[in-house]
């Protein structure tokens, strides 16, 4: 086929990648649901899922197996997939917005804003009338406040420099983690379900079939869709404000909308799984390597890769020190930090 731009070939290649990743996500879910203290074979998992989702006839599995698969592990694995996808795409959107590879919601203090918001909701019982939605709602507001604060601090003379942005992100991040921990201790529920450890290092242990999981699913899937559809705008913004402007996109307005979307996703993700680092930093890079930088394909690729990565990180968190569970943030840090070091080495090599 005539393809002087090479765009058709790249699109085909990306489609193959995305289909492959989608298959890998499904396979990962089936296998990961079986892994843990009690092992269930992938075949049995597939049968149980088939029974529940597709109405296939009941097979020869035990009631405990069904309970483990359907009630305990599947919501956890699904939450992992959603959280991984959400963190990966918000990382990618932030990187395009600030044109810096090191941007991610964790480093920019947005996660800690979400934690503070959620912790405040717990302490003050904020919005108890809103029930299950108080937590993600106030986490969203916390994330939103933190992101606008970080961007405002980084702005000097109308310009945001990457260095100032990262520094103010780190500063605001520390401040808000301190605040979160303080709020948790003040609330007297430090030993409760959502401990300081939960907010600092994350966990998928609270996953269950409930409204919160639905909220996470809606927010993450909506954000993936919107960011994918806005791929061209993200491409233009990643090149520069002036370029975006000359292509008819208002960079300031677009950036503000993106920041709200990012805060929304990070807010609900953190309220369900605590603050998990490195996914938003590492995965976008891997996705760009696989399918290229055009965001219309890089965003869905990052979502799928993030899902796979976080599910496996959670499997490791569950099985490494059985029967004890490790906070998942420890696993992602152990996997992600070496990657960050490689990135830094490469940057300095290029600058020199």
């Amino acid at each position: 086929m005539h393809d002087p731009l090479g765009v058709r070939r790249r699109r085909r290649r990306a489609t193959i990648w995305l289909l492959g990743l989608l298959a890998a996500v499904v396979a990962t879910i089936v296998v990961a649901v079986g892994l843990g203290a009690a092992y269930v074979t992938p075949g049995t998992v597939a049968q149980i899922l088939g029974h529940h989702l597709l109405g296939l006839p009941e097979g020869g599995w035990e009631a405990t197996e069904e309970a483990i698969v359907w009630k305990v592990r599947l919501p956890r694995v699904l939450l992992g997939a959603l959280v991984g996808a959400g963190l990966a795409i918000t990382g990618m959107a932030l990187q395009a917005m600030v044109r810096n590879l090191l941007a991610d919601p964790y480093l920019l203090g947005i996660n800690s804003g979400a934690s503070s918001g959620a912790a405040a909701a717990i302490l003050f019982g904020a919005g108890t009338s809103l029930g299950a939605y108080a937590l993600p709602g106030s986490a969203f507001l916390g994330a939103l406040a933190a992101s606008f604060l970080v961007f405002a601090l980084a702005r000097s003379g109308g310009r945001v420099t990457s260095l100032r942005l990262l520094l103010s992100g780190v500063a605001v991040g520390y401040l808000l983690y301190g605040l979160t921990s303080f709020l948790i201790f003040a609330s007297g529920s430090a030993e409760g379900a959502r401990s300081v450890m939960f907010w600092l290092l994350g966990s998928l242990g609270l996953a269950q079939w409930n409204g919160l999981l639905a909220v996470v699913a809606i927010a993450v899937i909506a954000t993936i869709t919107l960011l994918t559809l806005s791929g061209r705008g993200l491409d233009a913004l990643a090149i520069g404000d002036e370029t975006a402007h000359t292509l008819g996109i208002s960079p300031d307005r677009f950036r503000t909308l993106l920041l709200i979307l990012v805060a929304l996703t990070v807010g609900v993700v953190v309220s369900a799984a605590g603050s998990i680092g490195f996914v938003g930093l590492v995965v976008p890079h891997l996705a760009r390597r696989a399918v290229g930088s055009a965001h219309s394909v890089a965003i869905p690729a990052a979502a799928l890769m993030g899902a796979i990565l976080l599910i496996w990180a959670d499997v490791l968190a569950r099985v490494l020190l059985q029967p004890q569970e490790i906070p998942i943030g420890i696993v992602t840090a152990l996997l992600g930090a070496p990657f960050l070091i490689v990135l830094i080495r490469r940057f300095s090599a290029r600058d020199a």
Binding site: P4, L5, L229, I239, G240, H245, T246
Partner: protein, 255 residues
Amino acid sequence: MIEAAGLSWTYGATTILEDIDVASHEGRVLGLIGPNGSGKTTLLRLLYGALHGNGTIEIDGDDLTALPAKEVARRLAVVVQESGTTDQNFSGALTAGEMVLLGRTPHLSAFARAGERDLEIAAECLERVGGTHLGPRSFAALSGGERQRVLIARALAQEATHLLLDEPTNHLDIRYQHEILALVRKLGTTAIVVLHDLNLAARYCDDLVLLDRRRVAARGTVDEVLRPEILEPVYDIGIERLELREEIHLLFHSL
């Protein structure tokens, strides 16, 4: 046609431009020239609405500030000096083809994907700048001259009536300087070009606006503006004008 009248721009307490009139003419190349700091680039940025100063700017008879951003981008295509290549992992990893395709943005609704027609137009534009072979290559891996061609192709893909270029020959080898400007001429689009080099302006522009200390020092055809008595006080250097094969060449010497 772009018609600007009474343009002024102040940054903080500093006045960069004061009471400038500029008009482009159908199918002609207008050069903006002047010493460093005379406000050439600022003037161009005012003309495409990246800066908002005082004065009026009309594009084909419509007030620039009243037009939606997208409509402006359908009328004015701009080649800016920003190419986003500082970090290879962003636009750098876009291919030249994807870069050109971005030029279709003003013609697509926010969420729409570029379709067959857009791919065709983008391919044609890349061909017009002689860059067909560059399509699948990484933009960041291209030479300065190749990048500039790709950016011009992207501007062409906007199918705008005007082409604005901010020092398109910056950082280019002499061969590419001539190649790029010859290309701009050949396109036949109404163009406004910020240029540093007076000999390039002499060769590739039809009309010139000479800026000096915030104001227009001279305007007219190349022949009218590029005269020693006009240029010497502005650039503070001795200038000799030669005409070889009906082309103006300037020689410089200390005063």
